[in-house]
């Protein structure tokens, strides 16, 4: 299956893009001035994109988050960081290419950069397992985080995975234990941690890079306890109900800020990050720098105290007549 470059709801956008392309080639061949026609088409394209992307339904956000032309972790590494030294392996079993990590420089400072990595084509995806790590991927990530802690450098993680891999080897080698250990160790790692969901934040496989002082989300990324398809299959007893499931799960960046989990939405270029990788990378870089500067101003104890308080307060429950909801001040009901 070759990846379709356009999503269904983008069909009108694609049509105008095609017309612009045709017009340009005609003009090129015959030396005709088509500036005014082009301007009209480009204006139309801009407003259509803006309109379309302003009011995406949940399931459409999911599609954008999974867009085959969306920038992946290494695309951002190339654009936001310098002196990138990728490091390999968990020192125990093998190197998992669904997870990448290494030293990188952001602005002037070294950070440990770790991210899920999807493949751009089928061949690469066989190596990268579609961005679904095995246990050794999480263990590599933890090894690198501990190294960052040792040298007093912050950790930046880029989250983009459908989830942990449901396979025999992954279970045999203890992916539950590997994820759990990351959660426990990240909770108390003595260095600043920032995570950014750049595409798909799929369940435990995402959270294994997500216990962080700041949780940022690209505008069209999603973050969910289960995929809409998986949720629909279980609760609606048919994957066809994925649209309702996507809506019900509240998985968009806007939802996650409302729910008090994500700290900030990083705006994407008009029409999504897949339209303009450089533009998306520039905003990401500036946002990361701002958060890392803020966090580096806190002492380690204060950093850990805040991280502890943040995770202690996660959730929504009722106790006697009071309700606790993350992000809201406890109120009697």
């Amino acid at each position: 299956m070759t990846a379709s470059p356009h999503l269904e709801f983008e069909r009108d956008i694609a049509e105008i893009e095609e017309r612009i392309k045709n017009l340009l080639s005609v003009a090129d061949g015959k030396g005709i001035d088509v500036t005014s026609e082009l301007d009209v088409l480009r204006d139309k394209l801009d407003s259509l994109r803006e309109e379309t992307y302003r009011s995406l339904r949940a399931i459409e956000q999911v599609q954008v988050a999974r867009h085959p032309r969306r920038p992946y972790a290494l695309d951002y590494v190339e654009r936001c960081f310098t002196d990138w030294i990728e490091m390999h392996g968990d020192r125990s079993y093998r190197d998992d290419e669904a997870m990448v990590g290494g030293w990188a420089r952001l602005g002037g400072d070294s950070v440990m950069l770790i991210g899920h990595q999807k493949g751009r084509d089928m061949k690469e995806n066989l190596r990268r397992n579609f961005g679904m790590p095995h246990p050794e991927g999480y263990r590599k990530a933890l090894r690198l985080m501990r190294q960052a802690e040792k040298f007093g450098r912050p950790v930046v993680t880029l989250i983009d995975t459908p989830g942990a891999y449901p396979g025999i080897g992954a279970e045999e080698r203890g992916q539950a234990e590997a994820i759990a250990m990351n959660l426990r160790e990240m909770a108390r790692l003595r260095t600043p941690l920032v995570s950014v969901v750049i595409g798909e934040g799929g369940s435990g496989g995402a959270l294994a890079l997500g216990v962080t002082d700041r949780i940022l989300m690209l505008e069209h990324s999603i973050y969910s306890v289960i995929s809409p398809e998986g949720c629909a299959a279980i609760l609606w007893r048919s994957a066809e109900h994925r649209e309702e499931a996507a809506e019900a799960l509240r998985l968009t960046s806007e939802n996650l800020v409302e729910l008090g989990i994500a700290d900030e939405i990083i705006q994407e270029p008009q029409g999504g990050a897949h339209q303009d990788w450089d533009g998306a990378a520039l905003t990401l870089k500036e946002t990361l720098l701002r958060h890392l500067t803020e966090l580096s101003g806190l002492g380690t104890n204060e950093l850990l105290r805040r991280r502890q308080a943040k995770y202690e307060g996660m959730g929504a429950w009722r106790e006697n007549s009071a309700a606790h909801i993350t992000g809201e001040v406890s109120a009697g009901t």
């Binding site: 942990a164 025999i168 250990m181 959660l183 959270l207 969910s224 306890v225 609760l235 019900a248």
Partner: protein, 284 residues
């Protein structure tokens, strides 16, 4: 907080114990008919083949805690419905139905004595929405862990869960982080934590506190894993090997320390706690 003394009564099976005509039970392991009363006296373990029937949370409290002296904590915590989640049924109604059956939530927590040693104990209850982990489970486990931390007593969790509670969306995922964070503190403080794995322990619970014990004890034949077997089969399009994701499989692959018969569970747990107890008490 309430202190209650439970009357001595036999362990109850989680399944269909209210049917008075069940004089015999067919064993799911060997297919033999077992005399109901005999099964009850055998802690719901088949006397012929050793098959472990599921038992409920109260039954584990009774099994593990001396004389049933259990000081239950946070019993009034109840699920909220932060997403106003509705699938084929509204989440709020699902909660209501389970609560009406007298089950407060998918975990009971408290303190008690095991073979003379004070412990903090949490027992998950598969009857309440498949033992799924929502915010209440996360909060109760986390508070229970903090009691262990403050009083410097070991933490024991009996696990049984279908995974995260989807109806609480991202909040349920975050309970994995929240509970693991408390266990990080216990770990740093040198306080023992024993995880007991029963049938079934899957999903987000396995990928957080269930797999973070100093010691992992699993009941025989229990399904323990992250991804469910059906999901794996659908993904890899092949049949799974016999015994895949069962306790004995995890033992072979180094994920649990011991597979322990329910009839030996309390005795083994006590020995383990006593071994660890000496060391950490001296450090405090």
């Amino acid at each position: 907080m309430a202190w209650f003394r439970k009357e001595k009564k036999p362990l109850r099976s989680a399944e269909r114990r209210d049917v008075p005509t069940d004089v015999f039970v067919k064993c799911e392991g060997c297919g033999e008919a077992i005399y109901r009363e005999k099964l009850t006296h055998n802690l719901e373990v088949c006397p012929d083949c050793g098959f472990h029937f599921r038992i409920d949370a109260e039954a584990y409290v009774e099994l593990l805690i001396d004389d049933g002296n259990f000081n239950e904590l946070d019993m009034h915590l109840r699920a909220a419905d932060p997403l106003r989640f509705t699938d084929l049924k509204a989440y709020i109604d699902r909660i209501g139905i389970s609560e009406a059956k007298g089950q407060g939530e998918a975990v009971i927590t408290g303190t008690g004595v095991i073979d003379g040693m004070q412990v903090a104990l949490a027992v998950m209850d598969f009857r309440f929405i498949a033992g799924s982990m929502g915010s209440v489970v996360g909060e109760k486990i986390s508070r229970c862990g903090r009691v262990a931390l403050e009083r410097r007593i070991p933490l024991v969790i009996v696990n049984a869960s279908g995974g995260a509670r989807m109806q609480e969306g991202i909040y349920s995922l975050m309970q994995m982080a929240k509970t693991s964070a408390v266990l990080a503190d216990l770990h740093e403080a040198g306080i023992p934590y024993v995880s007991i794995l029963t049938d079934p322990t899957t999903g987000g619970v396995t990928a957080s506190y269930a797999m973070l014990g100093d010691v992992h004890l699993a009941e025989p034949g229990a399904l323990i894993g992250f991804a469910g077997p059906r999901v794996i089969e659908e993904t890899i399009k092949q049949e799974l090997p016999d015994g895949f994701q069962r306790s004995e499989f995890l033992l072979r692959h180094g994920m649990v320390d011991r597979v322990v018969d329910r009839r030996e569970l309390k005795a083994e747990l006590a020995i383990v706690l006593r071994h660890m107890g000496n060391a950490w008490e001296n450090h405090s």
